[in-house]
Structures are given as C-alpha cells and as structure tokens.
Subunit: 696 residues, 2 copies
C-alpha cells in the first residue's frame, strides 16, 4: 500500500468536463491562495464599486420622491443630501472601528454574533443575504436603465438585458477573484474620473454663466396635492431613498482577508478613500442636478410635455451628462458606459460578499454544508449560483423597475448596520471593563493607556454610529414599509428561522453520530446477494466482483414477477453455467424490494445476524436524459433495502457506450478478461488491453 501521491498531480482533477473548463478556467491549488490577495488599487474597484455606483441612482431616487410632492419641494434637496453625506461619514468612521476590532471578514455578522448572541447574528446574516440579492437586482436594473437612457431603442428588452447581465456576472465570477478584479478596475476608475470631470465642467459652466440645462427642465409636473402633515413624511422618504447611497459601505469590512498585508491598515485606508469619493460624488451630482433643473418622475407620464408612451425616461445621470456635454456626444456615451459598467460591477460586489458569507454560515452550521464547498477556482460556486438565481428571480418579478426595487432596498443594510454598531458598543464596553479589572500598576503602562484611549474612541464613534443608523432604520421602516418593504420584513425573519433550524438540525445529527464508549468492532457473518433479473453483462460483472471479494456465501437472488422472465433466466443460467447458486423468490405484489426484504429478514432469523451485501449493477450514462431511461428500479430497490438491518448496497458500475463519449475513456473491466489474462475476443468491444486490429 503506497501512501505517497504526487502533490502536483494535475491528473487528479480531471473531473470537470471541457465546457466547464473553458468557461471557468483551470483549477487552482490551495497554496496559490496568497497570490490572489488584492493590492489597494485593485481592492478599491472590487469592494467600492457598490458604494460608488450607488451615487448613480441615489440622487435620482431622492429627487424623484421630493418632486412627487411638487416642484417646491426641490428646496429641501440640499438639506436632505447633506444629511445623507453626514450619515455616510459617520458610517464610514464606524466601520473603520469595526475593521480594526474584527478583521477576520465576518463583518457585522461576526460582531453581532460575538457580542449580542446567536439570534442577532443570524438576523444580521439574513438581512445581509437579502440585501446582497437586492444589490444585484438594483444595480443591474439601474445599469440597464442607464444603457437604455443612452440607447432608447433597447427599451423593450429591459428585463432580458438585466437577466443577461446577471448571467454574465455569474460566469465572470465563477472564474475567480483576481481575473474579475483586473477586468473590473478600469471602468470604476473611468466612472470616478468621468463623473468628476462632468461635475467640474458643469460647475465651471455655471460660474461662467452658461449653466447646463437638463432636457427635463422644461417639463411641468403633475404635482400631487399633499397634506401639510405629509410634508415631513415626504422629506423623510426622500432621505430614505437617498440613503441608498450608503449601501456597500460594509463590503470592505467583510473582505478584509482579501487585502494584501498589512490587511487592516489597507482595508481601513480603502474604506476612508471610498467614503470620501462617494460623498463628494453624491454631493456633486445633487448640486449639478439642481442647477440643471432635472426632473424625474416615478411615472414618466406625470411629466407634462414628455412623450411617455414612446420614450423611456432618461436617468438622472444621462440627463446630466447630456446637459453638460451635449446629447449623443462622445463624453456623454463615456459617462453612460462607465455608469452602466460600474453598476454592473456593484452587482459583482455582492458576488464576492454573498458566497463568502454563505460559507461562513455553512462553517458555523447555519447553512447547508454544500455552500462551504470551494469550487475549482477558490471561489464558492454554489453560493454564487444561488445568489444569481435569486437576483434574476427578483428582476423578473419586478420587471427590472428601479424605482420599485429601491423600495425594498437598504432595509437589510440598515438592520445589519444597526446590529453591528450595537455589537461594537458592547465590544468596546467589554474591553473597557477588562482594562478596569487590571491592577493599577498595569493600567498605568503605556500600552494599557493607549488601549484605554483607543477603546474610548471606538465607543464614542460606534455609539454615534449606532444612534444614527438605528434612527435611520426606523425612518426607513416607517417610510418604506407600505411601499413594498414589508416583503423584506417577511423574508428576513423567515431566513433567520431557517438558519436556526439548520443549525439545530446539524447539531442534533452531530450529537447523534459522535462516537461514544459503547462502540466496538465485531460484526460477523458475510453473505453476498446479487439481484438478478435478466442475465446480461452488467449483472455478470456484479457476480464476478462478488466472487472476487470471496464472501462466505455468494447467492444470486431472482425476484420472479412474471413466469416468462423467470423461465428465461433459469435457461440462461444453465446455458452459461454460472458458478453461483440461484434462488428464486415469488413476488405476488410485483414488488422487487418487498420479497428481498422478507428474504433477508428470514435468512437472518434462521442463520443469525450477518452482514448482507447486496450487489446491484448501476448504469453509468453520458447524458442527463439517459437517467430517465435507466436505474429507476435499481434506485428504488436500493433505497428500500438500505432500511433493513445489516444490509449494505454495493453498486457495480457499468459504463454504457454513451458515457465513454462523455468521459473520453473506457474503464469497464469486465469479468476479469484483462486481469486474468484470458484471450481477448474481437466481439467484445471494450477493455483497456484491446489488441490493435489487423490491417484490412
């Protein structure tokens, strides 16, 4: 027995079919994982695209809500925008603390679970999972919307384009982290650059007296008559929608481990940079939109003068870039292309975060273990596919309508923000308590004093963060609940309960299968039964293998459902002189398993308990549809026999020709031909030791 196996044996992973290989690339070894870590300039586009891209839709959705109340409400816009930017700053500061304290990548989930307990942890996880799905949906919908704003002819393909984009993102991500990042770095930087240029150009033109004017500036609006009391609600709703600019801030804290060393410092720097850029862009875009007089309506037909029947309403970004650079100019298309790209990259962020969270949850026992199975490319394929399918579902149901999707959005984010921040407060308080228990002398040491200062700073920042995020969560809940967000409030607890259930289930099973002191080896007896229906090669191979295993007893069993079959078998048995005794059991109910079970029970009753090995030939097929045509009966029999005391099932594979086409090789050693060195007959078309054909 040789335990040495070559380390770098590429042959050892030949299972993936070629199509998969082309789509996904070559498999990667674990030891290469370090090379896949991200430098800051790469981490920014990967982790920041979500947060940055939010500025493509957050100003638009904010203005849209305000305009629903009438043109006068635009006056509130600067204040609402300022509140959003302030909130962004506080959240970024808070997350810098979180990264320092919990750099392992568990993010809010880990913080909440460690400091607040299992249930808050699971709630955070559920909220994040829901929000990852919505991030993909919202970002893709907005990206497609910006493509359509530039190319209105595509309007009728909105949903199809959105679904196609998600599929593309899935494929790109299944190829692995670094390739994704490399392809994704450019558009993010182009987006930042082009928006900056646009804002600057717009502002300069304004100072020069040639302020850009949006195409929608001329339209009137059907102002809904709004009660005085509803004004505050409207402003708060606008604020809620504006807060979608904050989504994605948490992405960095979940991905600290993907950074190059020093991981924590790099992650914090990336987060600060990202926050600053996002804040500046958001403020700049709102300012420019107000200058250009952009109007955006939830229902485009509310815009007086706009041909809502035939044209899609252009996005705020498209209106601004058209106003600044001119419609259909080259810079206009650059801005739109970069916006669309960065929004699709934002969807990609979720494809980094979701499977990672899924695998953390699987590791902790809250999700099926299949989510913790790394795919070929060091990524968590199952989680990615799950996320993609869910997002496609949401996009199809909501017809890729951004304004409707936004209503579901950010609730999950703020649930996890809030619980994460509260958890951080607990964390710092614990730290301070621990310091307080130190002896006075130790407390005076420089390290301890520095720690004390750092803990106090963390406590202060996270307290502020918690206060603000909880407040916003309440506002968001109040203003969005009846606009579709109730669905999210339904989904989060359902997911959480499912996770708790999975966790309890795995714990029960673990308990059930843990070895205790009562276990001893000592099964005795060894009988092989081969289930025979017709005498054909697969069952002959099974019998051959059973003989090779030299069981104490080897018996062929025939369950006689019809007399014709039974007679034919007995004739064939004699004709081929099979060296195994054949037992026939009557089956009055046409069941195969039933009489077998009865037979096994009776045998064990008469001969004492033994291990019964039942040999079943199993067809190996090449196409999915062949499975419909094979193995049904064998599978049913196996399932039922497995419930019987002392039975094990031995599957003897029989590779059909079609499987050879697929797997590209023969591995059907039949009845000892090759091994026993018997002469090979030309009528047998299989076997590795096939002699070359004589030339004809």
């Amino acid at each position: 027995m040789s335990p040495a196996v070559t380390q770098e044996s590429r042959d050892a992973v030949p299972e993936s079919p070629i199509a998969k290989r082309i789509l996904i690339g070559d498999p990667l070894a674990s030891q290469n994982a370090d090379e896949h870590l991200l430098p800051k300039r790469m981490a920014l586009p990967i982790f920041a695209s979500d947060a940055l891209s939010s500025v493509a839709y957050a100003p638009q959705e904010m203005l849209m809500i305000l305009l629903a109340g009438g043109l006068a409400f635009v006056a509130f816009a600067p204040w609402v925008a300022a509140a959003v930017v302030l909130l962004l700053a506080v959240v970024v500061l808070s997350y810098r603390q979180l990264i320092r304290a919990y750099p392992s990548g568990g993010g809010d989930y880990e913080v909440a679970r460690t400091n607040l307990g299992e249930v808050p942890g699971v709630v955070v996880a559920s909220a994040l999972l829901v929000d990852y799905i919505l991030t993909v949906a919202v970002s893709t919908a907005s990206g497609v919307d910006n493509i359509i704003s530039a190319l209105p002819v595509l309007n009728s393909w909105r949903v199809e384009m959105a679904v196609g984009c998600v599929v593309l993102i899935i494929v790109v991500n299944l190829r692995g982290v670094r390739e994704a990042s490399r392809a994704f770095a450019i558009p993010t930087y182009v987006f930042i650059g082009s928006v900056a240029v646009m804002v600057v150009v717009g502002l300069v033109r304004t100072f020069l007296g040639a302020a850009p004017v949006a195409s929608s500036a001329q339209y009137g609006m059907h102002a809904q008559s709004i009660s005085q009391a509803a004004v505050i609600l409207l402003v708060l709703r606008a604020f809620s929608s504006g807060c979608s600019a904050l989504t994605g801030v948490e992405a960095v804290s979940n991905g600290v481990q993907a950074f190059r060393k020093p991981k924590i410092r790099n992650a914090r720097a990336t987060l600060a940079l990202m926050g600053s850029i996002a804040g500046l862009m958001f403020a700049g875009l709102v300012t420019l939109a107000l200058i250009a007089g952009v109007k955006y309506a939830e229902n485009p037909c509310d815009l007086n003068g706009f041909d809502c029947k035939n044209l899609p309403q252009p996005s705020l970004m498209a209106q601004l870039s058209a106003a600044t650079f001119g419609m259909n100019s080259i810079p206009f298309f650059i801005v739109q292309a970069a916006t669309a790209c960065v929004l699709l990259l934002a969807a990609n962020t979720a494809f980094n975060g979701f499977p990672l969270l899924g695998s953390v949850l699987a590791r902790d026992g809250y999700a099926p273990k299949a989510l913790n199975t790394r795919g070929d490319r060091l990524v968590y394929s199952n989680g990615m596919i799950l996320l993609g399918v869910a997002a496609i579902g949401v996009l199809v149901v909501y017809k890729a309508n951004l304004s409707n999707l936004i209503q579901l959005y950010i609730i999950g984010v703020f649930v996890s923000f809030s619980l994460g921040q509260i958890g951080m407060i607990r964390h710092w308080i614990r730290g301070l308590r621990r310091l307080a228990t130190l002896p006075a002398a130790a407390r005076e040491q420089q390290l301890a004093r520095r720690q004390l200062w750092s803990y106090r700073k963390g406590l202060a920042i996270n307290s502020m963060g918690a206060t603000m995020t909880v407040t916003v969560l309440i506002i968001v809940t109040i203003t969005k609940f009846t606009h579709g967000a109730w669905l999210v409030f339904l989904a989060i607890p359902i997911l959480a309960v499912l996770m708790m259930g999975v966790s309890r289930y795995y714990r029960d099973v673990e308990h059930e299968i843990t070895i205790d002191d009562t276990l001893h080896f000592g099964s005795t007896g060894d009988v092989a039964l081969i289930l025979v229906n017709k005498l054909q090669k697969p069952v002959m191979k099974a019998m051959d293998y059973a003989l090779a295993a030299k069981h104490e007893k080897t018996v062929a069993v025939h369950v006689a459902v019809t007399k014709e079959e039974s007679n034919a078998l007995h004739k064939a048995w004699q004709a081929h002189a099979v060296p195994i005794p054949l037992v026939t059991i009557e089956s009055p109910f046409r069941s195969y398993a039933g009489p077998m079970i009865e037979f096994i029970k009776q045998y064990r009753a008469e001969h004492g308990p033994t291990v019964i090995t039942v040999y079943l030939p199993q067809y190996i097929v090449g196409h999915w549809w062949e499975k419909i045509l094979h193995n049904r009966r064998a599978k049913r029999i196996a399932q039922q026999l497995m419930l019987v005391h002392g039975v094990t099932i031995t599957l003897v594979p029989w590779l059909l020709d079609s499987s050879e086409l697929i797997y590209g090789r023969r591995s059907r050693p039949v009845l000892g031909q090759e091994r026993a060195g018997r002469p090979f007959s030309p009528t047998a078309r299989f076997g590795a030791a096939r002699p070359p054909r004589p030339p004809q």
Copy 2:
C-alpha cells in the same frame, strides 16, 4: 439458504408511507387481477363515457361554427348532423371488426404496427397519446363549463375548477380500476336517462304545440359577411367540430382485456350499444336545439342582447334543459349535474387508456421502462401522473376554454382511426391471400368458407371505414390547421421521433449488454478502502462492515484538505485504537475524488489489477429537505469513483433519527453490538435488542 417465502406476506410491501396508503388504498396481489375484470354493465360507463359525453359538446360546437356564418346557416345543421351520425355508424362497425381481429387491447397501435410497420405504429401511438391528453382537457373544460352554466357565480374560478377536477380524477384513478368503475357507473346511466327524458319531453311538447324556446332564441347575431366560396369551408368546419362526437369510440378496442369472458363478444356488444346510444343522443340533441332555436357564439359578445360582460354564456345543454324543464328547476340541475359528471368520467377514460398504452409502449421499448412499472394498485401510476400533469398544463395554457381546445382535438383520433383502418385492410387481404394458397380441397371445407366470408366482410367494412376516416382526416386538417391544430401536427411527429429514439437507444443498450461468448469469471484481488473524513459513528459502522467482509486488505483512506481536520482525525484514530491502517493523501485542489482516483490508479499500477471496494457511509434521512443537508459530497465522490477501472462502491446506510420517525422502526445495527452479544450501553439509543426500561 431458504428460498421459500410466504406468498401472502403483507409485510413484504410495507414501503408505502401511510399518507399514500390512505389516498390509494391497500396493495393488490397479481393473482387478484381476474377479479378486477369488468362485466358489461360496468364496462359501458368506463369505456363509453368518453364517446357518450362527446354529445354534450359536439352539437354545441357544430352549431357555433354554422352560426358564425349567420342565422341562415342553421339550415345546414340537420345534414351535417346526419353526416356525423353516419360516420359514427361506420366507425363503430369498423371497430367491431378490429376487436375481432386484435382482441389483445393494443387497438389501432397494434394494428398499424403489425400490418403497416414500425413508423405508422409509432405515429398512431403518438397521435393517441396527444389525444388522450386533449380528451382530459376538453372533457374537463366542458364539464366545468356545464357546472358554470348552472351556477354562474363560479365563472371566475373556471381554470382553478378544471385543474382541481383533473387532480381529483388522478387520485381516484390511482386507487384502481374497479373502485373507479363502481363510482362512475351511476352518473353515466343518469346522463343517458336524463338526456333521453329531456329529448322525449321536448319532442312531445313540440308535438303538443308548446315547443321549448331557448333563452338565446331571442338574441340576434353579428353575422360575419362571408364569401360564397367560404360557405363550403364553413360547413366542413362545422362537420369537423361535429366529429368530436366520435372521440372515444376507440376506447373499447383498447380495453378488450378488461372485459369479462367471453371478452370479444362482450366488447363488441358494448361497442355496438355505445354507438347506438351516442348516435341517438347526438341526433336528439341537435333536433331539440334546432327546435328551441339555441344560439351559441364563439365570442359571447357577438350575441346581440346578451350581457356578455357579466354573464358566462350558458352551454347548449344548459340552454336545452332550461328551455325544456325551466331554468333552475330540479330536472335542470339533474341534467347539468349528470352532464358535468359524465364529462369528468370521459376524462377518466383517458386515465384508463393512456397508462395502458404507455405500458404497451414501454414493453415494446418505445417509452421509458418506468411506465411499465405497475403501481401498488394494478394500475400504471407513472403514466397516470404524466397524463394528468400534461392535461393540467394544456388547461392552464388554454384557460380551460372549450372552443379553443376543440380546435386541437380529434386530429389525433382520426390519425389513429385512419391508420388503424388501413392496417385492417392489410390484415384482411393477408388473410384472404393465405386462404387462396390453400389447396382447393381445403378451401371447400366449411371452416375455410366461413373464414373467407368473414374476411371479405371485414375487408368491405374496413375499406369503407378507411375511406371515410381518411376523408374526414383531410377535412379536419384543412379546416382546423390554422385554428390552432398546427400545434398537434407539431406534437405528433415530435413524440413519434422521441419514441423511435428511445427504441433505438434501448436496442443499442440491449445489444451492448447482451452476453457473448467472451465472458468468463475471473476477477482477482480484493481491496477495501474506507473513505474517512471525521471519525464518527457512520464511518465506524462502514469500517466494521468492511472488517466483517474479510477483504484481503482493508485500508482507511483520508483525503487531507485542511491540516486541522487531518490532525484531529489522527488523534481520534489513536484514541479509539481503530484496528485498520490509515493512509493520508494530500489534496492540493481540495478535491476528494481526484486524489482518491489517483491513489487507486497508482495502487493498481503497483499491485496489479484488483477489485477495489470503496466503502462510503450514506445517511438515510426522513424528510426530503434533509437531502439538501446531507450526502452531497459522498454522492459526488461516488459518481466520480464509479468511472474508475475496477472500482465498486459500497454504501453503508446510516439511519438518522428522523428516518426512524418516518419509517417507524430502527434498523441500525451498529458495530456488532447486537450481534456480538456485547453488553448494551444505555448511552446508545439504538439497536433492535434494546432491553426494556426498568419502571420508574
């Protein structure tokens, strides 16, 4: 080894869970099959409900087409109806010949296959399969339509009701033939009786000068202006729709074997009786409808004066019974209830025919063998479920709209009618040729003369039948093709090609696995590998079984994906003193199967070819959702190892507690406790030999 197994062991079929038992009833033994044969009075409702129920919609659909041309076209109605009745008579006569010649129940499929060859046989089979589905859909739609005609408040639930009815029929049928027949006999007779009474009462009232007047008689019609040339087409279309009265005539010929002896005579008598009743009812209903002046429009809003927005258009049956007995009178409800019931029974006819045909096809290798697996109740469950699901699909797509469904209908029937009749011509000609080859003396014998006469009679009748059915098929094709029937013309060849493909596939496989002279027993060598990840009870049981089987070598193999796992395993191995050598293989690609495959190949390369038995523990779970949480990795590994030369997979079942809940018993003999007679520990909660608890 005791081959004797009790014949009537009810225990032998304990597999069905309780829910299935309650829904479907107790299993039945093969030897009871004879008791399930049908006397004529029972066979009539079972096999005739399709043909008889057709008269509930055929007159209506025939009149509807004529009325689409204008009120004047009603004058054609008697002639069209007469043509339909004539055709019915010819087809019934033809099928009486077919039953005589082919009583085995294969019907048109068998006739076409035997006399015309494989392709016509498969085409007939496809046509019949399609028409069985449409029979269920059309009959259910019409049944629900008649319910709604009596209770218009149900109008908004049309599709839901139709789907519900099909589900009900599936369940009833899964319970088996006789129970179905018993429940179904009464409404068929009530239907025949009530329609007869209605027609007689209506005619008597007409003779007494108080002719019934339909509620729709007052309405005008939007007559489409029709070109002179289209008149013939319209009349032919009306004839085509009227021919739907003929559907179901073939049912008896497919079910001869279900009749009591003398099977042939009983079946022929039933067929003749059925034909006569159907012809009389059809003629009677058309007559009454013309007297009462019934109007029926494809689009109800074409009826001037009818409140088409709020009311469903009442069916012809409902209009007649309301006109004859008075709306909402007790006889009115009896007629409607009987009509609805008999239509649902007609759907039931298909549930007798479809699975039977499916199993015949499966037996002949044209359909997956799973269709030939009899369920517990002597019925072909898989076929029934397939039919039900397909019919539900059609009903949902066509929104249970009878007039649209009728357009697809009867094409399949007439394809099989035509090919069947042509096949019969061939059959009689062959018979006559055989007689002609007899020596002159033999030809003069009385038997031969009687045969000659009988063959000539058959030839004459079936020639007439073939001529007429082929003509009708052409008419039906011309008039219905553009009205939706193209779908059927697409479905039939697709099904036929699929069947041919399945047949070729099974033949290829059969050829591939047929034993030839090159087979000898002679595999040598016998190594057991147990794949170990963590040391837990399931893998301990697997190792115990492997030891009990006394392989030449027994080795535990650990694929080391992470170091932590590996170290933990080695510690546990020593702690539990496992008496099996442990081999550790590194897995740089995190694959389990890859390194195993490499290891096996290398072992075989070094030690010569041997049979390698890989032991894998398999969790047996109680709930479907548990499958998501288990066995994923084991299944993947097994699939990949099965492709390797010389490998067999031995599944050692481990029943989780949840499976015990479902299957109601423990059968987990763990590690020889019970068998080796070791003291039983109270900490182990399993094992059949559990001692009774002391009273507390």
